[in-house]
Amino acid sequence: MNEAETPGLESRLITTGVERLALLGRHAESLMQGYANDQVPLEGLSHTALRKLLSARIVWRPDEQGGLKLTPKVRELIAEMVSDEARRHVNADVAEALELIRSLIQSYRDSSSRGDYWQQEQQLLRLRQAVDDMNGRFADAIDSLWQRLNSDFGFVSQLNDKVRENDRAQKQVVRLLDGLALIDFDELIELVGSDGTLRKVLISQLQQQLSQHYTSLREVQHRLIELMARFRRMQARSRLVSGMAAFLREHPGFTPGNYARRSEVPALFNHAAPLTAAGAVALDRAQDMPTLSALLENVPTPLRAAQSITAARPAEHVEDTLIAARQQALKDDVETFYLNVVDRAEQTPISALDYLNQSELQWPPEIWLFQVIAEHQGLPHSEQRAFHLHQQEERASAYNDVKLIRDVSLGLAV
């Protein structure tokens, strides 16, 4: 199409369009601030500029007092241009696009039958654009979905948000697939009839593009479901950890059943005790000798000083035997005393202390008496009854009732 054929209306549209697109560039900074924040800042915008922006419907005022905001279309355009996945909008409304295409086909055929070729060209152009738009919507939506997938929904930080975003994306895929299903090629073929140009635009090209979209969407859907499963597993792990920790904090005495005693021990708990494969130096193989002697040579010399054997102390041991020997001698002397009592002809008891003095034994009297009593107590019961042991006792003092043994006398019981 060349310019000469463009009537006045079209050229006026183009001039206005160019002017208004230029507005976007001229006020790019303010507009981007309006995109990033809630409002477009008024500073730096002249009264004229503001008026132009408003009439181009780049910005609008929701209410008189309210601030200046970007119109939804501009916000969408920016989101699309910068691939801002958090705000990118997926438009899956195929029904309306199809409606438009149907009516354009009708107009095209009307112009064709009237022989109005200029009008027919215009309709064809708009039809091409409508088809491209519909195609572009799918392409954009699929691009946006891939972007989100490949970043693992990195534009939101919390796992819960990722799960929600994934859920939203899956719904979008379903809507897009539903939209694709609305496009009925049988109907289009019928509408197009025998017109070769229309057939090319609406059937062969579109069919090929849509089948690509369909494959892409199925793949995206598959990947989204996989990713969702991963998110869910991650969520489940987090919940399990925090839930179990909370439970154990609340129940400090919690003890699970003794799984080790069950007839079927759960596989997870069957972890065998560790075994160490120890090895030691062996001298029974001649070929190992060089290695072993090399090892021996490399053994570091211990740093501690040598201990002289003569410095060891047998003294304590001697002391022990000495005491035992004296103990035995005392025991033997007491036994001799007992035998003496038995062997004597007279029945009268003998004082143990007198015996000690007469026999010139060197035992201290107290030790002697103690052993004599101990010997009597150590006898078997039957033999004990054969002796009569009499203790001469006296009170410790007039005011102390403790009895002190002064002497014992031993005689045979009659």
Binding site: S157, Q158, L159, N160, K162, M234, Q235, A236, R237, S238, R239, L240, V241, S242, G243, M244, A245, A246, F247, L248, R249, F254, T255, P256, G257, N258, Y259, A260, R261, V265, P266, A267, L268, F269, N270, H271, A272, A273, P274, L275, T276, A277
Partner: protein
């Protein structure tokens, strides 16, 4: 009997016998070999006289040795081990939670994740609540830190986790740790205990985080 020679698997056998858990992080090549049915079978028949066999976690993320026959000695050992495990559950779970929150991660640690004690320490230095939690955790008898210094506490916690096989330190002189597959094994144990004891611990359904707040 399998024809596979066990000669190349000596070091692996030794690690298994020593009670280690083998996962893709702790020893990738050994893990791959253990995934092979024939190799596992060969190792099993080798271990038969030692009353042991190769076992894996439910999701086959780790391999370890299990008793082949559960005699009384084996059961006694397992009962003691179960006691130790139950005792270590809370400190381990609290540690997992703490790391997740301190490092702002959106999920629990998984095998292969990289951890730097320095990072955890830096995050906790200006955060009294985190600091307090680390202190409480480190002085728990499972971690057994005697120190009141944050860096020593963090160090002790990492040391114990390495000893228990939950972390791997690829270079002894670098304070960088890798999370091993034993963490997954731990979570499988937790899930098992939860199911078996019917504990009111939910890991599915809608957000419980709001409820916790």
């Amino acid at each position: 009997m399998s024809d596979i020679s066990l000669l190349p698997h000596g070091p692996l056998l030794e690690r298994l016998l020593a009670g280690e858990f083998i996962c893709a992080v702790s020893d990738e090549s050994a893990f791959k070999r253990l995934q092979d049915d024939d190799t596992r079978e060969a190792i099993d028949s080798y271990l038969r006289p030692l009353n042991r066999r190769v076992a894996s976690s439910q999701e086959e993320g780790v391999y370890f040795l299990a008793w082949r026959q559960l005699d009384d000695t084996a059961r006694d050992q397992l009962a003691r081990q179960l006691g130790d495990t139950v005792h270590s559950l809370l400190p381990l779970l609290e540690w997992l939670q703490l790391v997740q929150e301190a490092l702002g991660r959106d999920s629990v640690l998984s095998p292969g994740d990289v951890l730097k004690p320095g990072e955890l320490q830096a995050k906790s230095e200006d955060n009294p609540s985190l600091r307090e939690r680390i202190e409480r955790l480190a002085t728990d008898s499972f971690f057994g830190s005697q120190s009141d210094q944050l860096d020593a506490q963090v160090k002790q916690v990492f040391k114990r986790l390495r000893e228990h096989g939950y972390l791997l330190q690829p270079h002894a002189d670098r304070q960088v740790f890798l999370v091993t597959g034993k963490v997954d094994y731990l979570l499988e144990l937790v899930r098992f205990i939860r199911d078996e004891e019917h504990l009111p611990v939910d890991d599915e359904g809608e957000d419980t985080q709001e409820a916790l707040l």
